[in-house]
């Protein structure tokens, strides 16, 4: 049997003999992606169980399991892990690393050593974040948004959380830089921008946001640290500073960051829909360019987080107006995906079911985002459970669900094995039901005036919290079931072969499954579109040894 990337690797330093050191020092984009996945999902489960703890406390009004300050630390830990350690780096670091170079026919990213260093910078950031749990007064209790002046006044370990976010931001910038150069310089000959798979477009748009927007959060976090240590008086009103300025700076990054999360996720959807419709994608160019325009408009809409913060009415109107124009390209993508299914041959395999399920949940997440784009309505709904539900429908029901879709889709590529589809589908349905039970009641509670970040609430809201609680239990069991299915698939699954889904893009044209160390045997010449099907079969076929077309 030929050697795969699990058997051999290139290392950043020297040629270590031990398998462990080979993993620690590896520069192979696939191994780095896998290690990101291992670390991120560990943190993901920590944050999930933190959230579950909060749901336990919220099951009944009054204080049962944890007190207010502990609850505040819990939602901060949940938010910081989910946002900075998991979802912002998530899809780019895992699938951008593993799949993107394969999709463009490259042997690795442009700067493999930098990629290795970036991974360890990310680990350093994680360690600092973890250390803040145990050092000083414990983990920050500010919420993941670190709003001044609360973050400046609290005794908890805000400095370490800010430092961690700063380091993770650097890792994000370097990842973006690496991917941008890779996509510009390492595409296989013949692959113009409009012949790239749409996931690569998603990663490309994201990489620009990582590169251009992340420095703003870096500056903001440094200013907050300087404010806290030296009292420079930029955000602290008792020194003449302006706390609302912090919110502006924070969201100038953090709003583009949500597009940074969703664009590669949309990319995954754009891979899955044509593959399982056995049909070329509808409106390739509009999907590609809508990613770019979302990334562009995304910079100009941060103010919609500040409708009630204290800002001029003119500014509110402008931000609201611009925000509606994010909805348009997003909607166009959805219609393009549905149109792709028209007259296709739809195979409802697990990745496709995840994709279609996400169309439902993300549509709800997107539309409820439009609710709170309407300024007057947001004045009522700002900082209520409505925003919380919207955000989780969009990010969990959008980004994370599509990440799961991608995991099911590329699992055979990465491991060379196939999971049991019956189990995987069952896990999807459990999660889908649990998810909606968990989050939908929050829209209603939010409309009726349930504020977020409350560890205790007025008895009127009990029913919504209880339904959410049962939804959370169902959702988490589905989640564990899914990972168990993956684990069984990897250890005991049948070999999948190189192209189990009949897909067209280059990552499925590998000489071995899983792929070998340096990917394709030869650099392919790309004179075809990414999703060419004829009568339900991929048009382009390769001899995997020579990478010459044989169709």
């Amino acid at each position: 049997m030929s050697k795969t990337y699990f058997d051999e690797t290139h290392c950043a330093i020297g040629h270590p003999k031990s398998t462990f050191m080979q993993w620690m020092l590896t520069v192979d984009h696939k191994r780095i992606g896998l290690m990101y996945a291992a670390v991120m999902f560990t943190f993901f489960f920590v944050a999930v169980f933190t959230a579950l703890l909060m749901r336990f406390e919220l099951f009944a009004p009054g204080q049962q399991f944890i007190d207010g300050p502990t609850f505040n630390q819990a939602f901060t830990l949940h938010g910081v892990i989910m946002i900075f350690l998991f979802i912002i780096p998530g899809i780019p670091a895992i699938f951008g690393n593993i799949v993107m170079p394969l999709m463009i026919g490259a042997k690795d990213v442009s700067f493999p050593r930098l990629n290795w260093a970036t991974f360890w910078l990310y680990i350093l950031g994680c360690c600092v974040a973890l250390a803040s749990l145990f050092i000083g007064e414990g983990v920050a209790d500010t919420g993941w948004t670190f709003y001044a002046p609360y973050s400046l006044n609290t005794d908890t370990n805000v400095i370490m959380a800010l430092t961690a976010a700063f380091i993770l931001g650097f890792a994000s910038i370097l990842t973006g830089l690496n991917f941008l150069v890779t996509i510009h310089r390492l595409r296989a000959p013949g692959m113009t921008f409009f012949k790239m798979p749409l996931f690569v477009w998603g990663i490309y748009a994201t990489a620009w946001i990582q590169l251009l927007a992340t420095p703003v959060i870096g500056i903001t976090l440094i200013l907050a640290v300087m404010e806290k240590y030296f009292g420079i008086g930029i955000f602290d009103p008792s020194k003449g500073g302006d706390p609302v300025l912090f919110q502006h700076l924070f969201w100038i990054y953090s709003h583009p960051a949500v597009y940074l999360m969703i664009l590669p996720a949309f990319g995954i959807m754009s891979e899955i829909i044509p593959t399982f419709s056995r049909k070329e994608i509808f409106g390739y160019r509009t999907i590609a360019l809508s990613s770019a325009s979302i990334a562009g408009i995304g910079y100009l809409v941060w103010g919609h987080h500040l409708y009630t913060s204290g800002m001029s009415d003119v500014a509110k109107s402008v931000f609201s107006f611009l925000t509606f124009f994010v909805a348009i390209p997003t909607g166009v993508k959805f219609y393009d995906w549905i149109a792709t299914m028209y007259q296709g041959k739809i195979v409802l395999s697990t990745p496709m079911i995840w994709g279609l399920g996400t169309i439902i949940t993300f549509a709800i997440g997107g539309i409820t985002g439009i609710t709170i784009t309407m300024i007057g309505v947001d004045i009522h709904l700002q900082d209520t459970y409505y925003s919380v539900a919207h955000f989780h429908y969009a990010i969990l029901g959008g980004v994370v669900f599509l990440m799961f879709a991608g995991m099911h889709y590329w699992f055979p590529l990465i491991t060379g094995k196939m999971y049991k589809e019956t189990h995987a589908k069952a896990a999807f349905y459990i999660q889908f039901v649990g998810f909606n039970l968990l989050w939908f009641p929050m829209f209603i509670a939010g409309w009726y005036g349930m504020p977020r970040r409350y560890f205790d609430y007025l008895p009127e809201f009990q029913i919504y919290h209880q339904v959410s609680f049962y939804g959370a239990l169902i959702f988490v069991s589905g989640l564990i079931y899914m990972f168990w299915t993956f684990y069984r698939g990897w250890t005991k699954g049948e070999p999948s072969g190189t192209n189990p889904w009949n897909a067209t893009t280059l990552e499925w044209h590998m000489p071995s499954s899983p792929p070998p160390l340096e990917n394709h045997s030869k650099v392919p010449y790309v004179d075809f579109n990414p999703y060419e099907y004829h009568h339900g079969e991929p048009v382009v076929k390769f001899n995997y040894e020579t990478m010459q077309r044989i169709d």
């Binding site: 002046p149 006044n153 009103p237 109107s317 959805f334 028209y342 005036g449």
Partner: protein
Amino acid sequence: MSNKLEGFSTSASTFNADLDFAFWLHIWLSVGLFLSVVVPMIYFAWKYNANKVKNEDIGKVTHNTTLEILWTLIPVAIMMLFFYYGNTTMKMFRTMPAEAQSLVINVEGSKWKWKYTYPANASGHVHEVGGVYKKPVMNDDGSIKEHGTMGISALYVPKDTNIILKMTAPLSDVLHSYYIPAFRTKQDVVPGRETTLWFNANRVGSYDVECAEYCGADHAYMYSKVVVMEKADYEAWYNSNKGDTPKGDFPKDGKSLYASNGCASCHSIDSDTILVGPGLKGIGAKYDSEYLANALTNPDKDVPEGFYPGIMPTFKFSDEDLKNIVKYMETGK
């Protein structure tokens, strides 16, 4: 038990009808948009299911200019409609009525209570109302023994009158947000800035106020109430010079004042334990009444050793209240 706050569905303010219309218009059009995506999706997934479609029958459509223009322009039109209603409702909330025709009340939000200062009445008396929410008392099994209550703190306003709230927080405090769900309005309260909020309530009743901007340990207990009264009732209270609040029979003894002003969250009354400030056990033996009264009304002037100025907020009490609370601190009664 009703599943919503008191007064939520009663059109308690002049805002409700317009805001609810904008919201439900948006929801119903959005349901349409949602169905325009999800219905074809489910239909196609059924109609073109792999076991029904022969390979030769797979279509080749990748463009349809008419459709693409339609599904861009129709959503644009709907979005502009949403923008219009979002913007007009914002104007409704944010266009302040003339102060001359309004009742202007100063609001101070601080950790974790709201305080209302009224304009001086005809005889020069200034009503000040405010205090902390009394937290629920729990049984050992986690059920509620006694629900939390608002005590004497409420914003008392006359019906059918424009009320302008000029809101701020002490410089050393943090962000809060004054949120009245029944009136559909909120505005952040920012230390060192004055933000404004207005409403015109047209139903007599008592409506919950919540803090909507995260502010720390007792964020979830930073409640208040807006009590809307008939104009005559309001005037009678406003023009009286008694410290009593117009609704309910609220005790004004030292113990209640100690609780409702939030003293207990920083100062233990019956021990030496330092919570934030010093415990007060035996304080009456150490200091005279005048020192204690000054410590409340001008806390930064003479701070005990080991503590720092600037931590404790300044309190204002009527002479009678001040006497009662000092007595409570001295004697524990």
